[in-house]
Symmetry: C2
Subunit: 178 residues, 2 copies
DNA sequence: GTCTATAGGAAGATAGAC
DNA sequence: GTCTATCTTCCTATAGAC
């Protein structure tokens, strides 16, 4: 899927990729939407694993920790445009994830909330701001500089702004004195 | 287009909408991609007009001005998911805008830059941050609360963070004292 | 479970009358 | 410029042998 675009994905593409003929897919999935649904859930579970596997190596200082999380989030999203579209943008004409698949996304949200609580961010609003900041950098990166680093480099700066706004403690002096 | 999704749009849909039969479209456009191209350009030109028509009524104070611009930007993007996908997300399998159509998007970028210079923001990096902030709110709004206001309400807060980071002057006292 | 064969439909594009 | 009719291609999905 990674190579063609998400909307242009066909069952023959998938079947070829896994070394099958196209009708054989129906022995495993009831419909094309069911395949999208499985991919949706798999993508979110992969993200969950990706988050969890990093959790031990993250810096302890809140500001640096938030930055590291943002960078991981960013890298995962930017690594695969089609996957990102499947997870976060509704581009498939009639597709809505099943409750089971959606549960994986909700679980990620819970992990993220917990992680944010760990650095002292408890309000939903603050969590919303944090996710919006990172997803903005992601969408600009994908839209305007795919494959580049132009927006990725802004992550420390943007998270720094956010941390300043919340008066989070830091090991460094702030970027700009008041 | 507004009602169906962008990727599911067919020539028959378009023709029906404008009261024609599908083949008649070929008297006006060479291909389906040519129609996408025209829509792409039209959307960006519409945004350009939408920006310019507001420019006289914007607040003069930098912080409030940035917020007002962000809210306009946000409202335009959120008003039509399919249009937003056409303008900012690559969802059409083989579609890349022609240089002529793309010029409209570049023109918008110029207007935006000029407007930012007007409030004292001259570096490309700062402009990148500003657009990332707004586009992040847009994508979260569309993905997680379509039709709602949950992320729109965060605009003053987020722009305030940005303005604080740049030490932009304001009419108000800052949200949080250091 | 996998295959070949094919149904059944919808898409983009073309031909040619008016 | 618009129409009807149709071409060609490609899709999802099903049937049925092995």
């Amino acid at each position: 899927m990674h190579e063609t675009s998400l909307a242009g994905l066909t069952l023959r593409d998938i079947a070829t990729r896994v070394g099958m003929q196209q009708p054989s897919l129906y022995a495993h999935f009831a419909s094309k939407h069911a395949i999208y649904d499985a991919m949706f859930e798999q993508a979110w579970r992969a993200f969950l694993d990706y988050c969890r596997e990093a959790v031990h190596d993250l810096p302890a200082a809140p500001r640096e920790r938030l930055t590291a999380i943002a960078e991981r989030y960013f890298d995962f999203a930017v690594a695969d445009l089609a996957r990102h579209q499947l997870m976060d943008v509704s581009v498939i004409p009639g597709f809505h994830p099943s409750p089971q698949a959606y549960a994986a996304a909700v679980e990620v949200y819970g992990v993220m909330q917990e992680e944010l609580r760990g650095v002292g961010i408890t309000s939903d609003q603050d969590a919303d701001v944090y996710t919006a900041l990172v997803s903005g950098l992601v969408s600009q990166q994908l839209a305007n500089d795919p494959g580049g680093q132009r927006w990725r480099r802004l992550i420390p700066r943007v998270i720094g702004m956010f941390a300043d706004d919340l008066n989070l403690p830091t090991g460094h002096t702030p970027r700009k004195a008041p």
